[in-house]
């Protein structure tokens, strides 16, 4: 086994092994657990860095294993995989820190952090999957490992949310499986190949290919929260804040969107997808989701639910970018995968802070929060501005590329959708900012758990992650042209996915 084969497996092991060990630890061994968590997270980032350097200089990292005659488990760390891996690895570190602070004294922490690590392991597997078979295995593993996190609190509401989650995701998984087996049956394999499986696509009947596409997209669309398969996402908000952060920025929803990317670019290929008339319907579904999600968000008073619907909307930017034929659309969608991740996680961290420190769960309770928790509110503001596409934020960068892509693809209606969504984003985020900074605070907060002491507004473990990710939102925009920015990586990938030089 060469080093190149070992590295992808090591990335997976870096969270799998700590996770398994953490399960066996008794509750009170906080120090051991924290060390394992952080060691795993740091190791993963280091390994990701190695992989990134390797991929940028043209090396390939792949490992195969035969499970059954004709079925192989394949891990391949290519540029697209690393886009997702680097996002997950970095955000995992921050979420781990946040979770340690958030769950101090909470019951069942060993169980929580065990499944937390397994969840990230599953995400890594999804990112580095080299064919649909491997992708599916880790996709379902992700469902299984996130369920205990959602129902962690154990009350009736949490269990109900978990049941809804399972219903949607297992159903989506079943549909996905049918599509994958059908594809495997037609093609003999389901490998992800840059440019798509051109040989198959020339020979198989058109209707079959379109039907398989529908099944595949429906399957991954559940996790990607495409309307009308998005119903589980607001229900899953019963989870503790670190879980919501992880689900919405790093793991589940991104996995769905990533699946769409892989299917369109590396199973069908963007040119074939256009020839089969698959891109226009996909773009329309994405458009509907964008507007629907933003629209529903306007009417939510519960902060996390508002953010949930915002996620529904924002993740479809990625799907829209994928469906827009042309380099600009591709780059915009891929960059937004990372940008939306950092922005949303910032918002969820802040929402968690408000809930934990002051007992605030609703937007209507947030009056005056800015003065009580200035740094948190600053991070929130940066994240919200990014969502709106304000200049100097990461959101602005990806939106610009997406708009360009819409015009390149001749889908001018998409520009209107994007603009409409930005306006709606402003409509549901600006009032929050107004309340935070410009309204007087109430006499008493709903449930102040962490009292302010001098400069300290909340626990530092809860404060550092949102500030760091908010900083990343700004950095991703300011240094968008640097070699290691998400945008540059997206452009690298985009160049490789098109068979002919694109317009």
């Amino acid at each position: 086994m060469t080093v190149n084969e070992l590295l992808p497996l090591a990335v997976i092991a870096s969270s799998l092994i700590p996770g398994l060990i953490i399960f066996t630890l008794p509750e009170r061994q906080v120090a051991v657990r924290t060390t394992l968590n952080l060691a795993g997270a740091v190791t993963k980032i280091l390994l990701t860095g190695l992989l990134l350097i390797g991929v940028v200089s043209g090396e390939s990292f792949a490992v195969r294993y035969t499970v059954a005659p004709g079925l192989e488990l394949v891990f391949k760390a290519d540029a697209l995989a690393l886009l997702f891996v680097s996002l997950s690895a970095t955000l995992w570190l921050f979420t781990t820190l946040y979770a340690i602070g958030y769950l101090e004294q909470a019951p069942h922490r060993s169980r929580f952090f065990g499944f937390f690590s397994l969840c990230v392991t599953a995400t890594m597997g999804i990112a580095m999957a080299g064919n649909l078979f491997t992708f599916f295995i880790f996709y379902e593993l992700l469902t299984l490992t996130t369920f205990p996190l959602i129902v962690h609190r154990g009350n009736a509401k949490a269990l109900r949310g978990g049941t809804v989650y399972l219903g949607y995701t297992l159903g989506g998984g079943a549909v996905l499986l049918v599509g994958i087996v059908w594809l495997h049956h037609l093609a003999g394999q389901t490998d992800f190949v840059q440019g798509g499986m051109t040989a198959l696509l020339d020979s198989a009947p058109r209707l079959h290919l379109q039907a398989i596409f529908l099944l595949l997209i429906a399957g991954v669309g559940v996790k990607a929260a495409l309307v009308p398969l998005h119903g589980w996402l607001p229900q899953a908000m019963v989870a503790p804040a670190p879980v919501s952060a992880l689900l919405h920025a790093v793991a589940v929803v991104k996995a769905g969107a990533f699946g769409v990317v892989r299917i369109v670019y590396e199973i069908y290929g963007i040119e074939s997808a256009r020839n089969l008339d698959l891109l226009a319907p996909l773009a329309m579904v994405a458009g509907v989701t964008i507007l629907w999600g933003s629209g529903r968000a306007l009417f939510q008073d519960d902060l996390k639910k508002r953010l949930a619907f915002s996620t529904v909307s924002q993740v479809s930017y990625i799907v829209l970018g994928v469906a827009l034929f042309g380099m600009a659309g591709t780059v915009g969608g891929l960059a937004h995968l990372v940008h939306q991740g950092v922005m949303k996680i910032t918002l969820f961290f802040c929402a968690g802070n408000y809930a934990e420190s002051l007992g605030i769960h609703k937007v209507s309770e947030m009056n005056g929060g800015g003065r009580r928790m200035p740094l948190t509110s600053l991070a929130f503001a940066i994240g919200a501005l990014g969502m709106m596409g304000a200049p100097m934020t990461a959101g602005a960068v990806s939106k610009a590329w997406l708009n360009q892509g819409a015009m390149d693809a001749g889908m001018d209606w998409a520009v209107w959708v994007l603009t409409g969504s930005s306006l709606l984003n402003a409509a549901y985020f600006l009032p929050i900012l107004y309340r935070l900074w410009l309204r007087p605070a109430p006499a008493e907060w709903p449930h102040e758990r962490i009292p302010a002491r001098g400069w300290r507004e909340t626990d530092w473990l809860l404060l550092l992650p949102p500030l760091a990710t908010a900083g990343t939102v700004l950095l991703a925009s300011l240094f968008a042209d640097a070699a290691i920015s998400p945008l540059s990586l997206a452009r690298l990938i985009g160049r490789m996915e098109y068979l002919e030089p694109s317009p």
Partner: protein, 483 residues
């Protein structure tokens, strides 16, 4: 000859008989260690046999050197070897569990009966002629009934009696079929019969096939002939339920499969629509069994109805044999994955019920948190039953769907997927409770549980999941099917 003296074929049958007698002589409740040591040896024999078959192809052994039709031929091909390894492996794990489980002395004659059960099962997998198959089938049935009745309670006697009657009807029909076959062909040796039966087929053989199939389907509890299974598996002690659900029902399925692929292959080729009957009944079994499991009040009843549903899957492979080797691979992999997973589930349930002193599904809420290893074993086994990756159950489901697509029988793929979703409903019914915060009523009194009880369940469950990744030897064996 020195070579024949250590022939694994022979020892696989002899050893269980030996330890059945040895564990009987000291009196009730004794003999666990002898059984466990012997099962280890048997597992070694099975593995050696497997290696032999992969290397050299199918094997035969003539008992006493007498050739058929007078003698009793023993035969082992890939399919038989795979079933043998499954049987010994699951048996060893369950035996380790049972030793701790029955420490309170309630085992009575568990060990001798289990010994005869294994002798019968090994004999069944190794038999090369129809009549010997009848004898071993009957031995397995009687031993299994004995195990169910072993506890001594009245409801166990009722369940055992119902099981016995079903078993006797099944094997009675089978025997009549054997008589008809002998009348038509003059031999009962499997390898001779395969060549002998060709078109046109006399009516006696059609009747024989119908009777033998019906008898075996009754013994495999295919819907609607499943009525005896839930009480028998649900009321028996946990190790017994594990052996019954995991292994005994697979023995009659194996026999049915053997008949379908061997002597009666010609009849099947003449009437392909015949394959639809087991498949339709199997689909009904999947739906009905899952429905009853979802509604079950008692944990062991839930698991027993789950067996009814999972057995239905096995019969879905019959219409899709046209798709090449996939159908057989799917069937065997499913049988193996289900065997290990169901055994794990029953023994995990046994531990949970014993510690919680409550056998209802609702009662699992309090105890699940005290036994994390057992609960994890239950969850892993559930993953395989639901057909979620990366388990053996998932790989079997994949192969089944692929086979269905290859033969154009799409409805089988739909049934497989639906069954998986229904299974997740009843599995998560139990797993949900593990996460529920117990309200004050449930005491959390810690109670020590022997490590063997928890870790054997986990071992079996891990094996079931591991089959999804390490099944290549199984596929190698399946290339050596048929003499």
């Amino acid at each position: 000859m020195p070579d024949d003296l250590f022939d694994p074929l022979v020892w696989l049958i002899l050893l269980p008989i030996l330890w059945a007698v040895l564990t009987f002589l000291p009196g009730p409740g004794r003999g666990a260690v002898v059984a466990i040591v012997s099962l280890c040896l048997q597992l070694g024999c099975a593995v050696r046999l497997t290696a032999d078959i992969i290397a050299h192809g199918a094997r035969t052994h003539l008992a006493g050197g007498w050739p058929a039709p007078l003698g009793i031929p023993l035969a082992a091909d890939g399919l038989a070897a795979a079933m043998l390894v499954l049987t010994q492996a699951v048996g060893l794990a369950v035996a380790l569990y049972a030793r701790s489980y029955f420490r309170d002395g309630s085992s009575l004659w568990f060990w001798p009966l289990t010994g005869f059960l294994f002798a019968g099962m090994n004999g069944l997998f190794l038999s090369g002629d129809l009549f010997n198959l009848y004898v071993t089938l009957e031995l397995v049935g009687l031993a299994a009934v004995g195990l169910v009745a072993n506890g001594g309670k009245a409801e166990q006697a009722a369940a055992a009696l119902r099981y016995l009657m079903a078993s006797l009807i099944g094997s009675g029909a089978y025997l009549f079929g054997v008589a008809l076959v002998y009348g038509a062909c003059g031999t009962v040796a499997l390898d001779h019969l395969a060549g002998m039966i060709s078109a046109p087929v006399p009516p006696a053989l059609w009747l024989a096939f119908a009777l033998m199939a019906a008898g075996l389907l009754l013994k495999t509890a295919l819907f609607p002939l499943h009525y005896w299974l839930p009480p028998a598996h649900g009321d028996a002690p946990a190790p017994v339920s594990a052996l019954l659900s995991a292994l005994v029902v697979k023995a009659s399925f194996y026999l049915f499969l053997r008949l379908w692929l061997g002597p009666f292959a010609c009849l099947v080729a003449l009437a392909p629509m015949l394959a639809w009957l087991p498949a339709l009944l199997g689909s009904a079994a999947v739906l009905y069994g899952s429905w009853m499991a979802i509604r079950a009040e008692r944990l062991k009843m839930l698991i027993a109805y789950s067996t009814v549903a999972q057995l239905g899957y096995l019969f879905l492979i019959f219409p899709v044999f046209g798709g090449g080797a996939l159908a057989l691979q799917a069937g065997l992999l499913h049988a193996t994955a289900h065997g290990t997973a169901k055994a794990a589930m029953f023994i995990a349930a046994g531990t949970l019920i014993r510690v919680g002193e409550n056998d209802s599904v609702r009662g699992m809420a309090g105890v699940a948190n005290q036994l994390p290893v057992t609960l994890f074993a239950f969850a892993l086994a559930g993953v395989s039953l639901m057909g979620l990756p990366p388990s053996g159950g998932f790989l079997a489901k994949w192969l089944l769907i692929d086979a269905a697509l290859s033969s154009g029988q799409l409805w089988i793929a739909v049934v497989a997927i639906t069954g998986g979703l229904l299974a997740s409903v009843y599995i998560f019914r139990v797993l949900h409770l593990a996460f529920r915060v117990p309200d004050g009523r449930e005491e959390l009194r810690p109670r020590p549980v022997p490590a063997a009880m928890e870790w054997t369940a986990l071992l079996l469950a891990t094996a079931s999941v591991g089959l999804g990744l390490f099944a290549m030897p199984l596929f190698a064996l399946l290339e050596r099917v048929g003499t």
